[in-house]
């Protein structure tokens, strides 16, 4: 199993800055669907990556279950499980799962490519979150349709080397 993350690699200044950033964003716990005034906005990189991945498809909500902590104590290490409800047959399966972050310096976190041999569309990994933000999962179906799920995660100490 993984080695514990060594937060001592952060200098004191980085640590204080990370704490201040987390505190500054703490009030913004509203859901993405009803953005509160002053809520964090998706980065341009997120918008670009989102547009590149979705192409001409209009993502619809549903069928995706994303397991993420409501509050991540350490943004360097946030466990994530993604499950997409799909029969995963030769004619109806999930081709790809894209993982995006609305406010990390690099919006595209990962893409997982699947096929019917996987039998279930379920992946598990660990991600970094620079600050409180939305985690967006896009699932590409074999018929070209796109599914979407958005999860807000509150981050106490940011990751991504801020």
């Amino acid at each position: 199993m993984p080695d514990p993350i060594d937060i001592s690699i952060l200098s004191r200044r980085e640590f204080v800055a990370a704490g201040a950033a987390a505190a500054a964003f703490a009030p913004f716990v509203a859901r993405a669907e009803d953005p509160a005034p002053g809520a964090p906005l998706p980065s341009q990189k997120f918008k670009d990556d989102f547009a590149r991945i979705t192409g001409s498809a209009t993502p619809v909500e549903g069928k995706i279950t994303v397991d993420l902590p409501e509050t991540a104590e350490n943004g360097n290490f946030v466990p994530i499980t993604i499950v997409v409800d799909s029969p995963m047959t030769d004619t109806d399966y999930i081709k790809a799962i894209h993982l995006l972050s609305t406010e990390n310096p690099a919006a595209h976190v990962a893409t997982f490519h699947l096929s019917p041999v996987n039998a279930v569309a379920r992946v598990q990994s660990r991600m970094r979150l620079a600050k409180t933000q939305d985690v967006v999962v896009l699932a590409e179906q074999s018929n070209g349709e796109m599914l979407i799920s958005t999860t807000r995660v509150k981050v106490v100490i940011g990751g991504c080397g801020i």
Binding site: I5, V78, A106, F112, Q124, S125, R128
Partner: protein
């Protein structure tokens, strides 16, 4: 530098079973956004590609960005088509590929 690649499979499986394959590798996953003590940027160094083959056939593939945590962990599933060996390859920004293999034991 990638080190210590690990693959965890169920002890045994039967043909037709859906099994979980857990993988882990030791790697710093340097984002490229950090600076050293002198203010010099630390260059990006991440594992950006993951390919899993079973019996020579690709069964799962992933691309990673800097948003994947250090020591990347990844788990996925597969329906067992028969006996075989998993071959998993992690490729970093230097173009270095680390490969691990694991035999799936059938009952």
């Amino acid at each position: 530098m990638a080190a210590n690649p690990r693959i965890k499979l169920p002890e045994t499986a039967a043909i037709g079973d859906v099994i979980e394959i857990k993988t882990l590798i030791t790697h710093v996953m340097e984002t490229g956004n950090r600076h050293d003590k002198t203010g010099k940027p630390i260059p990006r160094d991440i594992i950006h590609a993951f390919v899993a083959k079973f019996d020579g056939r690709e069964v799962f593939r992933a691309e990673f960005g800097p948003g994947i945590s250090a020591n990347p962990y990844l788990a996925f599933h597969m329906r067992v088509p028969g006996p075989g060996i998993f071959e998993i390859a992690w490729t970093d920004d230097h173009g270095v590929t680390t490969v691990a293999t694991a035999q799936l034991k059938l009952i």
